[in-house]
Symmetry: C2
Subunit: 237 residues, 2 copies
Amino acid sequence: MTEFSGIKALVFDVFGTVVDWRGSVIREGEKLGKEKGLDTDWAAFADEWRGRYKPSMDRVRSGETSWRNLDALHRASLEELLEEFEVTNLTEEEKDHLNRVWHRLDPWPDSVPGLTRLKRRYVISTLSNGNIALLTNMAKRAGLPWDMIFSAELVRHYKPDPETYLMPPDLLGLHPEQVMLVAAHPSDLRAARSHGLRTAYVLRPLEWGPGVEPEEPDSSFDIVANDFAELAEKLGA
Amino acid sequence: MTEFSGIKALVFDVFGTVVDWRGSVIREGEKLGKEKGLDTDWAAFADEWRGRYKPSMDRVRSGETSWRNLDALHRASLEELLEEFEVTNLTEEEKDHLNRVWHRLDPWPDSVPGLTRLKRRYVISTLSNGNIALLTNMAKRAGLPWDMIFSAELVRHYKPDPETYLMPPDLLGLHPEQVMLVAAHPSDLRAARSHGLRTAYVLRPLEWGPGVEPEEPDSSFDIVANDFAELAEKLGA
């Protein structure tokens, strides 16, 4: 425990780490499909929607397009997907509701109990590319007990831009090494580490559905855990 | 109730509205005074510290000084006050701890139960000149169940600059009239109203100690309430 005694705040990647975006998009898609008489493959739809996530942010990061929050990027991708999957009978209201499925993602079963336990000892916050409205609505619906919501939207830079990782230490009045990023994605953790944050890798083997193995952890990660209960155990919470 | 059915989020002024800054500063000051053998008048000390709050922000608002967060403004005022009150025997660590008394303010007795009730129906957030670290630490210690923490620090403008009032609607994806400011200060409410927000005036007759009457409400305020329980009642929460 002594090795982690300097840590004051835990900041969490959200999509895949705290919530099951794939299962949630499939669940809502199938419900919509029944209502609208669609025979869409919603697993493929979810994977393609998520597949456009990084490229759409990279266009903002490179300056190719000006700042747009994640709701707007999701909506632009959705328009392309609806055409590709030949879904032509949605009203504007239905499209808007479908786009906001990202505000209604379900947490992994261990997320709320694990966060509740970690919150007793640490400041817990998001550090997500999701916009503030998305993260606030998600937390309220799912009961995620955040102390603070840090979003790429607050600095108008998406991860892995440095501004995102430096925001929580700056605004919490902490040194980077007093802040630990918790994420299910090694690339996110490596970027955080390069800016001085501590790192915890939580394996989420079902993020992309059954049969897709998570990446191996780097030896440099401070913690590797199978869920938030094991993370809390290792952090003495 | 129908008149308020369009409201989605309540944003709260914090110092004086949610927490009792004066009683809390006096309480901690008296404890410190005993430890250090001081005969300071802590009620006068608290009032003078708070008295320098608006002038110190006005210097940032006018551009006379560059952006500094509230911890920094409080600290500069504290240095002046310690000299004025002839408190000369504090270590740097003790001064820093005293400055952070603003992170440890106690809520009014109705604040936590009222917010807990309001949270069931509305998104609830701060809208404060306090910095993020201050507001996060305060909420954690006092159990204030915010969904989000909006701070002047996020837009580097202090209230009543327009940027502060426009921030919650912008980041929550709402129209200004879907957001209500709750505050114990008519000037704050008038500024919010000028930018399209709804307004609730909560009377806090003890903010400046016994015998200082709160200002009369404007007839334009949407709600006037004596505490957060009455506010929740009027808002159907």
